[in-house]
């Protein structure tokens, strides 16, 4: 096992633990902080894959903007920061068994694939050239359409968010 693999396993363990804490902690503010740790773990994973740009984007956008926004939203909206009530219902073990089975099956099957043992090849120098990435996003022969659709999606999400949120302050019509 190389040092990189050990490092990856450690990061993955921390990321997963933080992600579990996000959904299991009862204090919503703690959940937001755990979320930052989980997102940071993802950023480190990107860095391990030699995609520095995405690591930076992950930190700047997800931690710097989104997670902070969540914290602000929590502070501005919720009166009670403590979640009460049961977190599990009686049937919780059914999905747990199913998901564990799916995971075991995936790992078992993937380990028979030749690519499973392959070491990651070093990326060529040109791979870190961001102008290629930028050009591909606006190239009609590449990703221009998905890029535009992403903006339509964001427009829809934006209008939807306003639609859901704005009714509360209006009087009952």
């Amino acid at each position: 096992m190389t040092i990189q693999q050990v490092f990856f396993l450690a990061v993955a363990a921390i990321t997963l633990f933080a992600a579990v804490m996000v959904v299991s902690t009862r204090r919503i503010m703690h959940a937001a902080l755990w979320l930052i740790l989980a997102l940071f773990g993802v950023a480190v994973s990107f860095a391990l894959l030699e995609t520095g740009f995405f690591a930076v984007v992950q930190v700047v956008v997800y931690i710097g903007a989104i997670a902070i926004l969540i914290i602000f939203a929590v502070m501005l909206t919720r009166q009670v920061f403590l979640d009460v009530g049961p977190q599990l219902n009686r049937g919780w073990w059914i999905p747990a068994v199913l998901v564990a089975g799916l995971y075991a099956a995936l790992v078992g099957v993937l380990s028979t694939w030749s690519g499973f043992q392959t070491q990651a090849a070093a990326l060529p120098e040109a791979a870190s050239d961001l102008s290629q990435f930028g050009l591909a996003l606006v190239d009609v022969n590449a990703y221009a359409v998905p890029f535009e659709v992403a903006s339509v999606l964001l427009l829809g999400a934006l209008v939807g968010a306003i639609f859901v949120a704005s009714d509360r302050k209006g009087v009952e019509r």
Partner: protein, 482 residues
């Protein structure tokens, strides 16, 4: 398949999407500019715009006989795209008609804009030929639909519907995305039409491909509400505003089938033996949907379980995996679109006056509004598969497809289910036609947009059930184009 370089003519391939985008902008501006009487005008604008886009699509976006990939292989211009686009646009237009005059709380520019954006997403779902494009299209469809289901923000059930739909959607979409990323990891490409060839060269174990197919199938099964990924459907249909529930159960389901058919036909044709999974989904959907529908007291829940069962019938055609199978599924989808839209539309109209969606409150409907009672009878009989309505021809073709593909057992299960399903449709009709109520003199008002929508749907059911040849031809051209 070669992807030709960009030419300006390719803009015709995204003409419906461009049109919808312009319409979305117009609706937003009209919402600000038309202060007075705007509710109705906005609905008319959206309806007219959707019809116009459908007309433009019909004339200008007609694909060539040879399908082609456009925009660097992101989208595919073929008959399947064409037919499904028209299905979504017409479904959206009829849903908008039912939305008008329905509930004061769900009108306004934002509501119509969300309908338009999700229709745009569905169009792209049908056209996508690339995993990245497909995923974005699915999210563009889903996110507005989550909001639309929770549109009655002050109503607990509607809010619950929105949240439940979103949580289920996010979960299944994550599993599907995992499947997509494994596909990319195996092959190094996201182009759907290149994936199959890469499977052969990449020496990927078949078991791995089956598992990946299973992950992706989970995502699609959620969209079409097949058992066991159906748990959201009854609660969401019950809580969501009724026109939205109608839209969810028809256009959104059709979009799920569009990607399911394309994916199975293009990416996983070599896994045909494990398509048995689809047959299992079909059987479980039919049985669970029909059994659970029998005990429902609320008509929206009844229609929800019935729509789960209907997804099962459509899956029979998919499971057959033949040309006739695909054709029958697509034809079934078209006939189901007009049928279920009519059923939900009548629930909108009756619910507006009666104020309840309980089946018991439909007593005396035949005297309060004979026209509506007749339309409801046509819709429910069509859902039950009685000639001469659309649902009968649809069922006939899917069962024929199962027999042709040597899956006689599947056809038998389908037929037995169809017979049992007729029972609960007839129970509703009994309440409508035979049960008396005290306020039979009170008429149920039907506004002009509603009347138009109901007439169009009923005409569609009769047309598809009698003169089905041209529509069958369309479905066949779509089925052979994948």
């Amino acid at each position: 398949m070669e992807t030709p370089a960009f030419t300006p003519a390719m803009f015709l391939a995204v003409l419906p999407e461009l049109g919808l985008l312009v319409l979305a902008g117009l609706v937003l501006f009209a919402d600000i500019l038309l202060r007075r009487r705007r509710e109705r005008d906005l609905g008319l604008l959206t309806f007219g715009g959707l019809l116009l886009v459908a007309g433009l699509t019909l004339v200008f976006s007609r694909p060539n006989l040879v399908p082609e990939l456009v925009f660097g292989g992101m989208l595919r211009m073929d008959w399947a795209t064409y037919v499904f686009r028209l299905v979504f646009l017409i479904g959206a237009a009829i849903s908008v008609l039912f939305t008008m005059d329905s509930d004061r709380r769900i009108r306004g520019g934002a509501f119509y804009l969300l309908v338009i954006v999700s229709t745009l997403g569905m169009n792209l779902m049908a056209a996508s030929a690339d995993l990245i494009m497909l995923y974005l299209a699915i999210e563009t469809t889903s996110i507005p639909l989550y909001v639309l289901s929770g549109a009655l923000v002050r109503d607990q059930k509607s809010t619950e519907a929105g949240i439940k739909y979103m949580l289920f959607g996010a979960f299944t979409s994550a599993l599907m995305l995992y499947g997509f990323s494994l596909l990319y990891g195996f092959t190094g490409t996201t182009q759907m039409y290149a994936l199959k060839d890469m499977f052969d060269t990449g020496a990927i174990p078949t078991a791995a491909l089956v598992l990946v197919a299973l992950l992706i199938l989970i995502g699609f099964s959620f969209k079409i509400s097949a058992v066991p990924f159906h748990f959201w459907a009854p609660d969401v249909y019950e809580g969501a505003p009724t026109p939205v529930a109608g839209y969810l159960s028809t256009a959104s389901k059709a979009a799920g089938f569009a990607v399911l058919l394309r994916f199975l036909a293009v990416v996983f044709p070599d896994l045909y033996p494990s398509w048995l999974l689809v047959a299992i989904l079909a059987v479980s959907s039919m049985i669970a949907g029909n059994v659970l529908a029998m005990t429902q007291k609320n008509i929206k829940r009844l229609l929800a379980y019935s729509s789960i069962a209907q997804a099962g019938y459509m899956l029979i055609g998919v499971a057959a995996g033949t040309e006739l199978g695909y054709t029958s599924s697509i034809f079934y989808l078209i006939s189901y679109l007009v049928t279920n839209l009519a059923a939900f539309g009548i629930v909108v109209i009756v619910g507006r006056t009666v104020g309840s969606d309980e089946i018991a409150s439909y007593a005396g409907l035949s005297r309060r509004s004979p026209g509506l009672a007749l339309a409801l009878m046509v819709a429910l009989l069509s859902l039950g598969g009685v000639p001469p309505f659309a649902g009968f021809i649809g069922k006939l073709f899917v069962f024929a497809a199962a027999v042709q593909a040597d899956m006689i057992w599947l056809a038998l299960v389908g037929i037995v289910n169809a017979v049992f399903a007729l029972y609960y449709y007839l129970v509703v009709l009994k309440v409508v036609w035979l049960n008396r109520s005290e306020n039979e003199e009170e008429k149920i008002p039907v506004t002009r947009p509603w009347a138009l929508a109901v007439v169009v749907c009923v005409a569609g059911m009769l047309l598809l059930g009698t003169l089905f040849a041209p529509w069958y031809q369309w479905a066949m051209q779509a089925a052979t184009a994948f």
